[in-house]
Subunit: 389 residues, 2 copies
């Protein structure tokens, strides 16, 4: 397999973008990444697109050729392929783009992620977000996605003494980070008191413990590492790309306080990269709900099991921490356009490794990790990125 | 890149399978393919799943890990990835499985295609089938998928003198083939008169000119060719795997009587395989509508432009023809469970190349082609399969 590098990155602002369509968002991110890579569209071999639910959301399937079309590139007859894995769709699309270049089948590939959530009134309806859990055994009985994560939170509190206040520190952390990110959906800082006094969504999770529904798109351009220097002085190598699965329904798991898919993905990723956990300087993790972030920190291994709530509250993962976690603001503050999230995580890590993250820059960042989850963990994805010296 | 072989195949009956769920169908096809390959589930490296519209059809996204789960394989934490490209979803999933093995990232991969269409009353609604055309510029104005193909038929008749009777020979041909296929949705033969006297769907296309809406699933197991003999005496090599795109909307194309995506895909596939068109013994082509089959025959190159209607009516593509076309019965008679179609085409070709196609066997078949289309041609896929000697 060939070594694969990220040559260019792009992303739109995330947020409630009432005046912008799905296709506009996808194209803006894609062209930004192409320009950043100093590539011409005719150099492209393929496009991969991560998207969760365009059929339900905008009544449009077949969206990968749609974006190629509206970008004016149909004349090249590029392979244009959509990948779906719930909220992890973007990260899984990146895996496909990685394999496409690593295989030698394509030299330069755009991987995009895009989602337009605010065009329908009932996006929180179980038929959309609940469709990434087990429809027949969970959603149909009224279990919502935040409801399922709330069960995990309750059990984590019971087993490890995690407190409501520790959970509430997660969004405080994310908004602090997001305040430095011009693309973030939310740039306001919030206080512990605000989180604790917000109305409940699924107790113990309140309004501020749940990432927002956002519109947005992100894209990266991939190419063979051995040709990367031609395009950029700061190529970033994809050292590992791992996708794993687990049962759809929570009740089939042996534990509610860990995601085995994440544990296995992280382990495989560090083995693939031949790097250690302690080498990671910056990480973007899945924080769709406050509890999601704590499980991720523990399952990846940044915290011992049960210790993430305390360690996050103590500031271990703040800017310059070990590692810095979600400098972008994460899903909570940067935003959560489902299929775009996994690609946006890669964009943030690349900006950190290149030293282009401005007021949220982690100095000397060399190794970055991105972690994304679909549903309640039926899919996990871990990527490791390293600045090529 | 490593050479890739198909080691096992499986498929369910196609049809209106009221008593069977999406997950049951997917699992049956997958296990058949595994058993056929003499592989154990623990040998598997990944699963790819082609599916067009599960979100709209069964309110379930994230269906690749769902099938792994219900197959009882979650403990392996396999990558489980859904691919969507309208009606070509299955063929595009096969492309991804091919790249996954060719890259060296995975040794043995299951590629499945599955769709459950009969659980909703309004599947022909434009929000589902129309979602594979350009929603904002075609479907929203009332242009249906058969309506768009009917425009192509009208223009083909105008430009080349193709007759209504020649179009009507397409379903007659497909039902003749389907009558020999125990898995086919329709096994009854039909006459030219029946086709011509059936009610209109979108003139000139009548009820019999449109493939049915079917439930069903198909699966293949892929592995490295150099290890294929360990599992089978008759490995089938994937000699070429090509995906292409074109504009979503018909009105952006330079011609209504050809699919450039198919022309380019076929050309690239023969170049990749270093084989000639005249080497093909058996072909499965996209015949969602009668006109789709004529365009495919011409765009791949089996007929000169404008001649396919006449040549098909003359029997050029009958059993033992040059080549034999849609021995399975095609989308019209074998059935059209969107995401399963592309994989079912591969299953049929493998059975032909292995000499296992029973009463529809083409003797001495060595090279087979599969061609699938999404929407009105925004995606085309061409695969070439060869019996490894």
């Amino acid at each position: 397999m060939r070594d694969v590098a990220i040559l260019g990155v792009g992303m739109t602002k995330f947020g409630e973008l009432w005046d912008r369509s799905f296709r506009e968002l996808g194209i803006e991110a894609g062209f930004q990444a192409l320009v950043d890579a100093k590539l011409s569209s005719k150099d492209l071999g393929a496009l991969y697109l991560g998207n969760m639910a365009s059929g339900s959301l905008i009544e449009q399937e077949h969206i990968a050729p749609l974006l190629v079309d509206y970008a004016g590139l149909s004349g090249h007859h590029l392979p244009a392929i959509r990948v779906e894995a719930g909220g992890a769709s973007g990260a899984v699309a990146l895996h496909q783009g990685y394999l496409a270049v690593a295989s030698g089948a394509y030299d330069f590939v755009v991987v995009g992620g895009a989602e337009k959530l605010t065009d329908v009134p009932d996006v929180t309806a179980n038929r959309i977000t609940g469709a990434t859990a087990d429809q027949e055994w969970e959603s149909v009985f009224g279990a919502t996605l935040p409801g399922l994560w709330a069960l995990m939170a309750r059990r984590h509190m019971y087993d490890f003494g995690t407190t409501r206040e520790q959970l509430a520190q997660v969004p405080v952390h994310m908004h602090e980070m997001g305040s430095r990110n011009p693309n973030a959906h939310y740039r306001n800082k919030i206080t512990l008191e605000q989180v604790l006094s917000a109305g409940p969504v699924a107790e113990p999770l309140g309004v501020f413990d749940c990432a927002p529904l956002s519109d947005g798109a992100a894209a990266v351009v991939l190419g063979p590492l051995d040709r990367a220097r031609k395009f950029t002085d700061t190529p970033v190598q994809i050292r590992a790309s791992v996708v794993t699965s687990d049962t759809m329904a929570l009740h089939h798991r042996t534990s509610f306080t860990r995601l085995d898919s994440t544990i296995v993905a992280a382990k495989r990723a560090f083995a693939q990269a031949r790097r250690r956990l302690t080498d990671v300087n910056v990480a973007e993790i899945h924080d769709a709900y406050s509890i999601s972030a704590l499980l991720a920190l523990e399952d990846i291994g940044f915290s011992e099991k049960g210790a993430a709530g305390r360690e996050l509250a103590e500031g271990k993962f703040a800017l310059g921490g070990t590692p810095t976690v979600n400098s972008s603001g994460g899903l909570k503050a940067q935003g959560r356009p489902f299929g775009a999230v996994g690609v946006a995580q890669a964009v943030e890590i690349v900006r950190q490794l290149r030293g282009e993250a401005k007021e949220r820059q982690v100095s000397g960042a060399q190794l970055g990790l991105a972690h994304d989850v679909g549903g309640t963990g039926a899919t996990s994805v871990v990527h490791l990125f390293e600045r090529a010296n």
